[in-house]
């Protein structure tokens, strides 16, 4: 580039300012997490006496042992796995079937139905929560696994995603089979479904993550301690936070709950980022 010496200098200076800003933002991202991990490794009495004690030994794993000793946490993790897993499986099945139906098959009223399903994307959860809660009360669905799973099955995002994906597959692939009079389900199962694995992964991870982190519906539906999901259970132990009693213990719980999802994120990063950004733009 034919830039003069001063502009190169100016560029280097500008680069340094930008770099400093990015580093500052990175520290803001990471410092709170390190602080939490630090506190989780300290005895409570020592913390109360001097918060700066985080920076030096002795460290202890006592808080983690206490966390694991609290049997509720395992129950909540199990509940979260059942609810998120069930919802993910259900969403994948319903969305794949409906996506194939909307993309490839014709039936009376198909287009208007698809528009109605798309409209579902614009309905926020809060617009239906109160009524849904009342309906579930009447059906005695609260504090059950199906009570926690079912509402998520009505989300149209998966159908929208799968329809788009099926439409992108060349028609020639299944047209021949259709003319050969193979059953629709056979075509769906044998020919098309294997091609949708990337979309299944994206939708599956997105659904699982959303269900795992969901807070509002489990909060109002699962009111018994045994039926709490991890998110609600963790929130329930924070109530006596103000007395700053057992802060190290609370932090150990936070690490215990947050670490698995962060590790999963590191492994499936590409899919997760695609899923979340894709869902936002739709």
């Amino acid at each position: 580039m034919s830039a003069s010496a001063t502009s190169i200098k100016g560029r280097a200076f500008g680069d340094r300012v930008l770099l400093a800003l990015v580093i500052l933002l990175s520290i803001i991202m990471i410092a709170p997490v390190l602080w939490v991990i630090g506190l989780s490794l300290k005895e409570n009495a020592e913390l109360m006496a001097n918060p700066n004690s985080v920076f030096h030994a002795p460290y202890t794993l006592k808080n983690y042992i206490n966390t694991i000793g609290t049997s509720s946490v395992f129950r909540w993790v199990l509940n979260s796995i059942i609810v998120s897993g069930g919802l993910t499986l259900g969403t994948l099945i319903l969305s794949s079937l409906a996506g194939y139906g909307f993309a490839r098959l014709n039936f009376p009223g198909r287009n208007i139905l698809f528009v109605i399903v798309l409209f579902g994307l614009a309905v926020p959860e809060q617009a239906v929560l109160v009524a849904r809660h009342q309906i579930f009360s009447m059906l005695k669905f609260h504090n059950t696994y199906h009570g926690l799973i079912l509402p998520g099955l009505s989300a149209s995002f998966g159908v929208f995603l799968m329809t788009q994906y099926f439409r992108a597959i060349p028609k020639e692939l299944d047209e021949a089979a259709m003319l050969d009079n193979a059953s629709r389900f056979r075509i769906f199962w044998k020919v098309l479904l294997p091609l949708t694995v990337p979309a299944q992964a994206t939708l599956g991870i997105f659904t699982f993550l959303g269900a795992w982190n969901d807070y509002f519906w489990p909060l109002i539906s699962a009111t018994k301690k045994d039926m709490f999901t991890l998110t609600v259970g963790m929130a329930s132990t924070q109530t006596n936070f103000a007395q700053s009693e057992g802060i190290g213990f609370l932090m150990a719980q936070a690490v215990f709950a947050g670490a698995p999802i962060l590790i999963i994120y590191l492994f499936f990063q590409k899919y997760i980022v695609t899923a979340v950004s894709g869902a936002a733009v739709r």
């Binding site: 506190l39 319903l94 039936f107």
Partner: protein, 311 residues
């Protein structure tokens, strides 16, 4: 259509015999079975509750009884309820605090990290990582940052012999405290959306600009920013829709206090419907939220519809 159906039915038992080519894309009722399972859940758990909610909002109802018809009484009561009006204002204030900041920091990060180096990749991972955490963990982390005595903030201020601002208890700072935690939690998505927009700008435009001796500021202003204008609007709208639904952070960090100053609309709905069990009024408040979000969603639709016009 009836003829085609009969051809199919009569021909089907004769396995292996090729049916004379019928229109395989003609509408048929049996194709409906593929969409029926989803439509069942969609209708019973989304469409029906949507209308049931509207119906509830004009009734005085509690958990088990449908109550009696009260017309627009719930809405009138809402607009006379100072706490509700406060919560509407709080929600707008929160959106104003978070959305522009998220868009600008997200854009800044995307511009800085849009390169193929390893460091940039690691930093992208870092800035998106908080987005996968649940609201419970995020609020736990930030309460421990803000808390007096052992908090990170008060420790850092302590090194300089100063007192940290009371982000949770000070009425004028509480919402800002929630906003900072939210920005920390949500920064990944805007950054990623901007990054994917930046990667779609054709490289040859930049090469042409370099040949024309354009400096970096000129390139940014006349090439990069105009090319991602649509994404910028999109990010703003998506964030408005998301942040309008503020609930967990406010409920877990401040319980809406002090003096209802951090109580957003969703928290008002939660308290009205599920703590005071005034379902009719809770439903009415959620209809108002629905309308507000629908307006933003419509704006998003209008922006995304013209996708083909601009890369």
């Amino acid at each position: 259509m009836a003829d085609q159906l009969t051809i199919r039915e009569t021909a089907a038992p004769a396995a292996g015999v090729r049916v004379p080519s019928v229109n395989i894309y003609a509408p048929q009722w049996r194709n409906f079975v593929f969409v029926a399972p989803f439509l069942f859940f969609f209708t019973t758990l989304l469409i029906f509750p949507l209308f049931w909610g509207m119906w509830l909002s004009v009734h005085k109802a509690d958990t088990f009884s449908t109550g009696r018809f009260v017309g627009l009484d719930n809405y009138v009561r809402l607009f006379h309820d100072k706490v509700f009006l406060q919560s509407v204002w709080n929600t707008f204030y929160f959106v104003l605090l978070t959305v522009p900041t998220l868009a600008l920091i997200g854009l800044f990060l995307a511009l800085c990290l849009n390169r193929r180096t390893r460091t940039a990749a690691v930093l992208r991972t870092l800035f998106f990582s908080s987005s996968v955490l649940s609201v419970t963990i995020v609020t736990l982390i930030w309460r421990i940052v803000y808390i007096p005595n052992v908090g990170l903030l008060s420790t850092i201020y302590g090194w300089f012999g100063a007192t940290a601002p009371a982000f949770i208890s000070d009425p004028s700072l509480a919402m800002i405290g929630i906003a900072i935690a939210t920005i920390w939690w949500c920064i990944g998505l805007p950054m990623m959306l901007f990054l994917s927009a930046l990667q779609q700008i054709p490289q040859d435009i930049y090469e042409a600009a370099a040949l024309d001796n354009a400096n970096r500021w000129q390139t940014l202003r006349s090439i990069t920013l105009p090319s991602i204008k649509r994404t910028f609007i999109l990010v703003i709208i998506i964030q408005i829709v998301l942040q309008f639904q503020l609930f967990g952070q406010a409920w877990l960090m401040t319980r809406g206090g002090p003096n209802n100053l951090t109580k957003p609309i969703v928290l008002y709905i939660y308290e009205t419907a599920f703590r005071r069990w005034d379902l009719g009024m809770g439903a009415a408040a959620s209809e108002i939220l629905f309308v507000l979000i629908l307006i933003a969603a419509m704006a998003q639709y209008l922006v995304t519809r013209n996708k083909g016009d601009q890369a």
